[in-house]
């Protein structure tokens, strides 16, 4: 039995056992997160470190007499041992309920249905990964991370709800360097295709060749700028920092407060939605609630919906939309426009072509102002021709300008930006975003 099959069998047994131990008046929700992962870290097209990880965590939300307790604990995949752990942590959750104050915004546990999806991938055998990457990259200074293996999220509750989602996926997130000049790419999917990876690598090598010119140092100021999808994805990531959270909005912490209150507006060219049809993640959240396949967030520059969890819905008396507790998009899409790929440089004319941005943060959250750096393949363009790579610049720009009247065009193509975060565990999700042409994008340092 492989990792996924073993976990499916043991999860159902342990979750059913745990739910079977509940007493009258108790309700519970049980989550599983599990992965079997190979991580290979490269530097200079050699292996710096390689690590194999098997991990499994069970989360228990217990409701009792108006109280709510959350506990989570590592499990082993061995049913008898995991039942013992479940017993212990159920008793701890009960103690928590006894000691904590009432939870005024408790979301009643209900049956949100059943789903069962297992997607088998075609990944490289672990022992072939290193040569599959280093051989075609021979002669390059490649740095990056290969990550792959089964990834599982599942959920059961005391009202009979049951969701299972397992996939086998990988990503190769890498940079190629020539001295301090670098380009960035990600090759990701569920089926490793050596030719596709080599084509991806060849594209990166070609882009790196474009960098082989003296760097141009530009003065701070406002420049006509093209943000490639990689750069737009970084800006879109900022929307996960409370900007689209209904709870953050009500608490005074949303960067889109002025948009919500119609004090400010965004361009009619701009539309954002949560779209589970992209296939980047499962639709059920940690309570097992199923989101609609799509949720309009910003449509033609107007805020249509915040991400609203059932807990926020209860607190503020508004409808929820099955957002998870952190109320951030899990599968964000920025809709395409009409700018054709072959017209990008011509429409840019003279200005900056930015492939990536780095280390963004709100510099003035209330006014949706973001600061960050240019990174990787960023070029000075004159009259539609790439002239030179640039020395990195700091930008400090607000969304109401760059996604407002200064947004000139959006590309007709989009690129998928898979979630490559591996803090504590691997992640589901990602984004699909186009490129954007912007006038007077502000650089400060």
């Amino acid at each position: 039995m492989n990792f996924t099959e073993n976990m499916k069998q043991s999860f159902h047994q342990v979750a059913d056992y745990l739910l079977g131990q509940l007493k009258n008046g108790e309700q519970a929700n049980v989550n599983l997160n599990a992965e079997e992962s190979l991580f290979v870290r490269f530097n200079g097209n050699k292996v710096r470190q390689n690590t194999h990880v098997e991990q499994r965590t069970l989360g228990l939300l217990l409701q009792k007499e108006g109280k709510t307790a959350h506990v989570s604990f590592s499990i082993t995949g061995q049913v008898d041992e995991d039942k013992k752990r479940a017993d212990f942590w159920l008793s701890q959750a009960r103690k928590e309920c006894d000691l904590l104050p009432e939870d005024p915004y408790q979301v009643p546990i209900k049956n949100n249905g059943t789903s069962d999806n297992t997607f088998k991938g075609a990944l490289l055998p672990d022992e072939e990964v290193i040569s599959a990457i280093t051989r075609p990259a021979q002669g390059t200074d490649l740095a990056g991370l290969y990550c792959g293996g089964p990834l599982i999220s599942a959920n059961k509750n005391s009202q009979g709800q049951s969701h299972w989602f397992a996939t086998e996926n990988f990503f190769m997130d890498y940079s190629l360097y020539h001295g301090e000049k670098a380009v960035k790419s990600v090759y990701a999917g569920t089926e490793w295709n050596q030719k596709d990876f080599e084509a991806n690598l060849a594209l990166s090598k070609n882009q790196l060749n474009l960098m082989d010119r003296p760097k141009r140092t530009l003065k701070p100021g406002a420049y006509r700028t093209y943000l490639a999808p990689g750069a737009v994805a970084e800006m879109a990531s900022m929307l996960s920092w409370g900007a689209l959270s209904f709870n953050a909005y009500k608490q005074g912490g949303s960067a889109l407060q002025k948009l919500a209150e119609k004090e400010k507006s965004l361009s009619k060219l701009l539309s954002l939605r949560e779209n589970y049809g992209l296939g980047l993640t499962h639709r059920f959240n940690s309570l097992g609630e199923l989101a609609d396949e799509t949720l309009e967030l910003i449509s033609a520059g107007e805020l249509k919906n915040f991400m609203t969890s059932s807990r926020s819905a209860k607190e503020y008396g508004v409808p929820g939309n099955a957002a998870d507790s952190y109320e951030a998009p899990r599968s964000l899409e920025i809709l395409p426009g009409s700018l054709k790929e072959q017209d990008i440089l011509k429409e840019l004319g003279t200005g900056l072509y930015l492939s990536n941005l780095h280390y963004l943060n709100w510099s003035d959250r209330l006014n949706a102002r973001i600061t960050g750096m240019t990174r990787y393949a960023c070029f000075w363009v004159e009259n539609g021709e790439i002239i030179a790579p640039i020395a990195d610049l700091r930008f400090d720009e607000n969304l109401y300008d760059c996604w407002g009247p200064n947004l000139l065009a959006i590309t007709e193509f989009q690129a998928v930006d898979p979630m490559v975060s591996t803090y504590e565990s691997r992640s589901f999700g990602g984004k699909k975003v186009p490129g954007m042409l912007i006038k007077d994008f502000k650089f400060t340092l």
Binding site: K46, L100, I130, A143, Q251, T422, L445
Partner: protein, 474 residues
């Protein structure tokens, strides 16, 4: 508890060297928002990392399955990792990189954490959020603690055995005030910046209520305050902002794995070159920076790093001159430079890499009031709220929660949205006064590495005065 020694004895003859690192960590969150229960959770994470040395390469395999078959499976994977990468390794490693280590460490705790119940904490926090309700303009109030109890127990086939126990409490009190379309948030020194190796003594009701009252008053001040001016002037930074300044513009660029390029694809490289050590005048002669894992209550104090290297205080920068960087034994060999004991992993499921620990600015000789008096026109900024720096750790822009204008040697009006920007070496060379008193803060969430790892860092710093810094508001 499974028997680590017994498990090791069954494996140790099957590789050149093998170690087992068992980590168990309990994390408790308690949050009260507007006097009501909000987030209350306990997580318990445990597992074992098996590490082997074969053909000059270390292979790693971590598992949450602590049965003997689970560990055997992880051991076989670790062997496979080492063998598959040995021909592609970045460096030939040996047992020199895993010295014999025997010892233990325990956080200093005055009042054990289990002496304070969830009810006692939540009662104080309910009162804390009440204390912040001083006006109808207060929109939200929250009180949070994260309590972490961690044990690292590692043993190796060469006879090492290290046992380290950490008791960590982070607190965060925060309020947002608003009027019209203006909102301003003030917290107790920045989000979870108050994080120490301590016990339940940190839940001192009187101190917490006093701090909450102050931050609510300051949040109200901010709502009607002027914006920080856009100009170049003297900048005085409080320790709760200096912690971020030290972290981003000293700690990270001095990490050897960044200098070696391991981190290039993620957090970035470094403007510091190997030749800079012993030569680069990083800052003014007032600048003295140490790696100090020996400060009792600081967040990243410990006895040994994960290679078994014993942790000691080391000067990184003395009188402004760059002397030494932050690299463990592996990076020291690769760079042929001396370093420190900072080869640390986030948990059982990650391989160790070069991390900051406690990176501190040593105290100066100035009194804070004299530093203020010396400024004709400047700004005094407190508590970080925004941070961004380039991938070489050179061009930075940081924002704070709260500021005071300094005019003719006196603190005058409150300023909102204070930000400043600069470049690292120029900025540190503009350091013109360092206070004699210091405060300790830190972060539980320093992110780095591939696969990603969050780790705890501590920073003990004085108040510092910098000349001619570009500051600006909203």
């Amino acid at each position: 508890m499974f028997d680590l020694q017994h498990t090791l004895s069954s494996l140790k003859n099957q590789a050149d060297w093998v170690s087992l690192r068992h980590v168990a960590e309990k994390t408790t969150f308690r949050t009260i928002r507007d006097e009501k229960a909000d987030r209350n959770s306990i997580s318990f994470d445990q597992g074992v990392m098996v590490e082997v040395l074969i053909e000059g390469h270390f292979g790693f395999a971590g598992t949450s399955d602590l049965s003997s078959s689970g560990i055997q499976r992880a051991f076989a994977k670790a062997v496979s990792m080492a063998k598959s990468a040995a021909a592609h390794k970045v460096h030939e490693f040996s047992l020199e990189h895993r010295p014999l280590a025997q010892g233990s460490y325990r956080s200093p705790v005055v009042q054990p954490l289990d002496s304070f119940s969830a009810k006692e904490i939540t009662d104080i926090f309910i009162d804390a959020t009440k204390a912040m309700k001083i006006s109808d303009k207060i929109l939200s109030r929250s009180a949070t603690t994260m309590i972490v109890e961690t044990s690292f127990h590692s043993i190796s086939s060469s006879g090492s055995e290290v046992d380290q126990h950490f008791s960590i409490v982070s607190t965060d009190f925060s309020t947002t005030a608003g009027a019209g379309s203006e909102t301003q948030t003030r917290s107790d020194s920045g989000g979870l910046a108050r994080c120490l190796q301590v016990g339940a003594e940190v839940f001192d009701r009187a101190s917490i209520l006093e701090r909450c009252q102050r931050i609510a008053e300051e949040a109200l001040e901010l709502v009607s305050a002027d914006n920080c001016p856009d100009t170049t002037m003297d900048l005085l930074l409080a320790p709760d902002q200096m912690t971020l300044q030290v972290h981003e513009s000293i700690g990270h660029p001095l990490e050897y794995d960044r200098i070696l390029g391991d981190e290039r694809n993620y957090a970035g490289w470094s403007f510091v070159k190997p030749d800079d050590f012993g030569k680069l005048q990083y800052g003014s002669p007032l600048m003295n920076v140490t790696f100090d894992p020996t400060i009792p209550d600081a967040l990243a104090s410990y006895a040994f790093d994960d290679s078994g290297h014993q942790a000691t205080k080391e000067f990184l920068i003395q009188n402004g001159l760059l002397l030494k960087g932050l690299g463990g034994l592996e990076s020291q060999s690769r760079l042929e430079l001396p370093g420190v004991a900072n080869f640390r992993s986030a948990s059982w499921n990650r391989a160790p890499i070069d991390r900051m620990a406690n990176i501190n600015l040593e105290p100066g000789t100035s009194k804070l009031e004299d530093m203020i008096s010396s400024v004709e026109r400047g700004v005094f900024m407190m508590a970080n709220k925004s941070w961004s720096i380039d991938d070489y750790r050179n061009k930075f822009q940081f924002g704070c929660e709260y500021a005071k204008l300094i005019e003719n040697g006196k603190l005058t009006k409150t300023l909102k949205n204070p930000n400043y920007r600069g470049t690292t070496v120029k900025f540190w060379n503009s350091l013109k006064a360092v206070s004699e008193n210091r405060e300790t803060y830190g972060s539980p969430y320093c992110g780095k590495g591939e696969p990603n790892q969050v780790i705890r860092v501590g920073h003990t710093t004085p108040y510092c005065l910098f000349a001619n810094v570009e500051v600006f508001g909203a």
